[in-house]
Symmetry: C2
Subunit: 332 residues, 2 copies
């Protein structure tokens, strides 16, 4: 299946996106696998300079900037790169897409253009943290800031399918992010979500707190998009603060350099500008949203994620797991 | 003004609390300044062993455990140490209190027992982060998980008074934690709070995102208690994860030790089990809530915080600033 690439989205587009595409082509992608969406001449000349070429280009020069209001911008810019990427998936010209542009626009364009999976009402962004204590999928990281409890329950379903398909985990643990471990904690939405998850056949381990993100307590952490986005940005912000502070203090000695290397190892796999982005789950298609600050190195991993989602059929598995749930929870 | 000390609250109570009290007495507190609430004989014998004594003890052996449901536990345990501390403040036997016990119980007992300041509907927990980039007061860190927009506005008022009195900042900047910098971002409560703050005379700098916690972008970060508590625990959890990971890797060389010291310096002032806890603002009294894992070293700083709140009259200043606001925002 072909993958559409939003060449114009992102802080360093199109340069870094195209450099990343060239790397992917030199590594393990064939030109036939890609559909590049952006300014045709520029794409061709830049790829030529990199010594590669892609036959399928969908020409456009329109792009939705990172600070534009998503829905409004999508209405005005009918030929924006993200709209054309979504259109290509909708029409079957591509199986999935990657974009490093305006997240809200990618979520809105995908939700409206592709529609939702059967039984799913709202999409969620799945971000993967990789700590020494193991992988944790945080879901939702910002697609849906005011979810209902049923949406949170669906995130548990999506997270289960995603962990199985992407990481081969048979029965990933699902935790619900809350401000206390006991049932009955938090506001009404999370309390209801707790009950829906508990009465399901998912491997639900109960409420978890913020510190559990780092402890290997769970493989999936379910939360609303407001909290999830905040948490993601706090972790990123803290990491940057510490990295700068330590880099400033580093001497040239081998051991302080190795200390800094240790630190980078502890946090490194969570540098989202380098690791390929987050998957938008719940929409009827495969959509990968990269960090706006992504450089070329993020492109090939993003493409590989989409390829894996397509090959494993994560969307079909979300539907299967949802259908396997008892009436009340599935229909909530 | 005397300060009531909940001797029984906290994971390491009463031992560490009493050791901390002894330190405070050796440092800069007089015995007359303290009212110890807990088991009288044990308190006396332990303090004697430390070579100090306190004349004012309010005897009780009842305590609300960290996992008890606050309101229920308060109803059952009329003589719990936190209830008696609040009672002492209410009756004027003490001007303020410190507790390292069940946070929910301290919030509920104080709100009900002391009542709220005029015009304030809900209390908020103010936690102070200290980064290389400056101090940030996060408010609310967990007292009020489902606030209305007017409560968030009041947190801006409280944060302003607190920063003025505690840190001598004349016009502290107030940021509203949101999932995007532009006005109109986030759910309806934060959008309304944005408008209330913007139309006030507070030094409101607009929406800020998670990463702004570390950047010196603001002195006060206003958020709901659900997000604030999550954020606090994520920062704590991340810090612990990194400290353990780096301590494991440290060699005995001077430079790797100095690297670890640099790291601790970057995060150190934010180890809440060591720095004296958080202030519950909005109630009609001075209440300091310490971290449950606090050791003795947290006690004297906590007592000093209460003393400073009492001396500066932060509560009177909250009322003044609130009264100075235009009608709509103040009465929202």
């Amino acid at each position: 299946m072909r993958i559409a690439v939003d060449v114009l989205g992102g802080d360093y587009a199109p340069d870094e996106v195209l450099r990343g595409v060239a790397t992917a082509l030199r590594d393990d992608f064939t030109p036939e696998e890609l559909l590049l969406v952006g300014p045709e001449e520029e794409i061709q000349s830049r790829l030529k300079a990199e010594g590669v070429a892609v036959p399928n280009i969908l020409h456009t020069t329109e792009v939705i900037g990172s600070h534009e209001k998503p829905v409004e911008a999508l209405r005005k810019k009918r030929n924006s790169s993200i709209s054309l990427c979504v259109g290509a998936v909708k029409e079957g010209a591509a199986g999935g897409l990657i974009s490093f542009g305006n997240t809200g626009a990618a979520v809105a364009a995908s939700s409206i253009g592709l529609g939702m999976l059967p039984g799913i009402r709202r999409p969620g962004i799945a971000v993967v943290f990789e700590w020494a204590s193991g992988k944790v999928v945080l879901l939702d990281a910002g697609a849906n800031p005011e979810p209902k409890s049923s949406h949170l329950f669906h995130y548990g379903v999506m997270g289960t399918a995603y962990c199985r398909d992407m990481f081969g985990m048979e029965s990933p643990r699902i935790g619900l992010l809350n401000i206390g471990g006991e049932a009955g904690k938090g506001h009404s939405t999370v309390r209801e979500a707790h009950d829906l998850l508990e009465s399901s056949s998912l491997n639900f381990v109960g409420n978890l707190e913020g510190q559990d993100l780092f402890k290997g307590s769970t493989e999936v952490l379910v939360t609303d998009g407001f909290v999830g986005n905040m948490l993601l940005k706090v972790v990123e912000g803290f990491m940057e603060y510490l990295l700068h502070g330590m880099a400033d203090a580093v001497s040239d000695s081998d051991s302080s350099n190795s200390m800094l290397a240790t630190f980078k190892q502890l946090v490194g796999a969570t540098d989202f500008a380098e690791v390929g982005g987050a998957t938008l789950l719940g929409v009827n298609g495969v959509v990968l949203i990269g960090h706006g600050r992504s450089k070329a190195s993020a492109v090939a991993p993003a493409l590989r994620n989409v390829r894996k989602d397509l090959r494993t059929g994560v969307n079909a598995h979300i539907t299967e797991i949802l259908n396997a749930q008892e009436g009340s929870a599935a229909e909530a």
